[in-house]
């Protein structure tokens, strides 16, 4: 079958342009094999990274039909199926015999070197920043060997599957607005380090990852990393687990992001639903202790008042007592499980 490839091409300082290539392919052909054929048969100047062809090396991350993925993992049949389904969902129906199109673009959130090749340096620097190695004491050569039970090892499997392809980083909404945020790949590795029984830097790591800008609180929970990860590492879930460890060690006074979480649960215990007026005052102004925080609420407070959006009353849920005892029971159980 014939397929059109619309590839976003760019040189370092040039404007991006879309170049079209047409190929005769079979449905099982991977996107990477298609790109290879374009390069070998039609245009040797097309630049992209590749190596293992087998979902192991993580070199061929790129945006395929609108989301970051591995070119060696996705194939024509899968992409056409997805595009066909989208077309059906939009009510546009049959393609009417048009040649199907594949849109290929470089990863996002990274500078372009050429065509589909991005400069991965910020990505590697961010990874390095979380010290993704077992701590020095843990790495000292023991007398016999590095002992770890199968259960301890199994805790590392999901994060260990990361092949550093950059798909999560490419889509990360937090990274797009915060150049200091280390990104989902680095924090998934950070969770691997703190979950490793051989590492002895747990507490200092948690303090490092607790940084409001570079660390876990930079994540905006957009779920895009989880959605695109080709290896099911679920970086956002790993970030959430690091947050859990930090939350278990601090009270609401520690910082605003921590207070945000603690106050939310407190307010549910108090009223079943969140009383937003209290939430804003307790989180942002730290119950009037943080004057700057309090003042920062003034613009939105005034706007909301003027628009008659300010809730004047709060009706607690009729299930408040039930949910309070439920939350307390679960939290007591969790505290028993986690001696920290």
């Amino acid at each position: 079958m014939q397929v059109n490839f619309k590839i976003l091409r760019q040189s370092q300082n040039g404007a991006p342009r879309v170049q079209n290539y047409t190929l005769e392919v079979t449905p099982a052909t991977t996107i990477l094999d298609c790109l290879n054929r374009i390069k070998w048969e039609q245009d040797g100047t097309l630049a992209f990274r590749k190596n293992c062809r087998n979902t192991i090396c993580g070199s061929c991350g790129m945006r395929i039909n609108g989301r970051s993925a591995l070119a060696c993992k996705e194939n024509i049949a899968g992409e056409l199926g997805r595009l066909e389904k989208i077309r059906e969902q939009s009510g546009e129906g049959e393609t009417g015999g048009n040649v199907p199109e594949m849109t290929i673009a470089p990863l996002g959130n990274l500078p372009i070197i050429k065509d589909l090749i991005v400069d991965m340096q910020p990505f590697w620097d961010n990874l390095e920043a979380v010290e993704p190695y077992i701590s020095t004491a843990g790495r000292a050569i023991p007398e016999r060997e590095f002992l770890q039970s199968p259960e301890e090892r199994a805790k590392l499997d999901q994060m260990g599957n990361c092949i550093m392809c950059g798909s999560c980083y490419s889509e990360c909404n937090a990274r797009a607005v915060n150049p200091e945020f280390v990104g989902p790949h680095a924090l998934a590795k950070a969770h691997r380090a703190i979950a490793d029984s051989r590492d002895n830097q747990l507490e200092s790591r948690l303090e490092q990852y607790n940084d409001p800008k570079t660390g876990v609180w930079g994540c905006t929970r957009c779920y895009l990393c989880n959605e695109v990860c080709p290896m099911e590492v679920a970086p956002m879930d790993q970030i959430g687990k690091i947050k859990g460890e930090i939350l278990a060690r601090h009270d609401a006074q520690a910082s605003r992001p921590i207070r945000h979480r603690k106050v939310l649960i407190d307010l549910v215990k108090q009223g079943g639903w969140i009383d937003e007026r209290q939430f804003a005052l307790r989180v942002v102004s730290n119950s009037f202790r943080d004057v700057k925080g309090l003042l920062s609420l003034a613009p939105v407070g005034l706007q909301v008042l003027r628009a008659r959006k300010m809730p004047l009353t709060f009706d607690p849920s009729e299930g408040t007592a039930e949910v309070r005892s439920l939350i307390e029971a679960v939290q007591a159980h969790q505290a028993d499980q986690k001696p920290s």
Partner: protein
């Protein structure tokens, strides 16, 4: 028993989960959902004993907490033998995902479900059974009600109105299985726009994060995120944004004057809740949809519609 109640088919009755924001700073959402469902003949039985879904925060405390509190919410709907209806992307993603997890646990990890249910029964709550569904108002309109039926109800087609959807992360990516949409290229909001006579505006930001989760402590980043999406929608010719998520609404509407100031650029684009847009098309008065309760004024927008 009234004749009207009898006329509502079982498939259009829902256990209604109002959520926090619609009972607080976005009461116009509560109001417009009520007004719209009444006109469409959809019956809502409000879950008065339901409580906050946690908006992803319980899970950061523990997965068990998120599962248990939301298993209780779902069990309340099961008690009525009705599907649970949300009108917030975040509530939908959180509760919908818990429902998926627990239905899977019922088969693959019964001891985990047993643990959740033991907490529930010990505190006098009904156990979770996995016998209902969790669906967003958008899905109920597109799926159960049907866009053709909706079209027949349109008395004031929104012809010429350019609508930019803003889906909200949790509606697209928190659940494993989406009934109607591709998570990266959804169409259900756009289909709804077409059904009420409006024209969809496509832009990259429609599937991205609004920045609300960061706004209490990384305010500038939250503004930058929201601001970028608003600018992009305006550049694509949008007359308004329409969102199925009141948390997105809070960042995009309530904080829009601050966002404009941060960007140094006037924005002034109205943000509608999903039932407000549909409500206008089926002839409900703007006031009855709470369109006078927005930070970004809707007057010019309504004038364009001849209202």
């Amino acid at each position: 028993m009234t004749g009207q109640t009898q006329a509502i088919p079982q498939s259009l009755r829902y256990a209604y989960f109002p959520g926090c924001v619609a009972q607080g700073a976005c009461r116009e959402l509560y109001q417009s959902t009520a007004a719209l469902t009444t006109v469409l003949g959809i019956e809502l039985v409000e879950l008065k004993k339901a409580t906050c879904c946690g908006s992803g925060t319980y899970k950061e405390d523990s997965q068990l907490l998120e599962d248990t509190v939301n298993a209780r919410n779902i069990a309340l709907a099961e008690g009525l033998n009705l599907p649970l209806l949300t009108h917030c992307s975040t509530c939908q993603g959180v509760i919908g995902h818990v429902d998926e997890r627990l239905k899977e646990a019922k088969v693959k990890q019964p001891e985990y479900l047993g643990q959740v249910n033991e907490f529930l029964t010990q505190q006098g709550c009904s156990p979770y059974q996995g016998t209902t569904e969790v669906k967003h108002l958008l899905w109920a309109l597109v799926g159960d009600y049907g866009l053709e039926t909706l079209k027949a109800k349109v008395t004031r087609p929104l012809t010429g109105l350019n609508c930019a959807a803003f889906y909200g992360c949790y509606l697209l990516r928190a659940q494993k299985y989406l009934p109607f949409d591709d998570p990266h290229q959804p169409e259900s909001m756009e289909n709804l726009f077409r059904a009420v006579g409006a024209s969809p505006v496509y832009y990259r930001g429609r599937t991205q994060c609004c920045g609300w989760p960061l706004s209490s402590y990384a305010t500038e980043q939250a503004f930058q995120m929201a601001g970028g999406h608003l600018q992009e929608a305006i550049a694509q010719g949008a007359d308004c944004l329409v969102t199925p998520c009141p948390l997105c609404h809070l960042n995009l509407d309530s904080r829009q004057p601050e966002i404009a100031k941060f960007l140094g650029q006037s924005l002034n684009i109205p943000i509608l809740h999903l039932p407000q847009l549909v409500g206008l098309a089926v002839g409900i008065a703007p006031q009855a949809l709470g369109l006078n309760r927005h930070v970004v004024k809707t007057r010019v927008f309504l004038e364009k519609l001849g209202l």
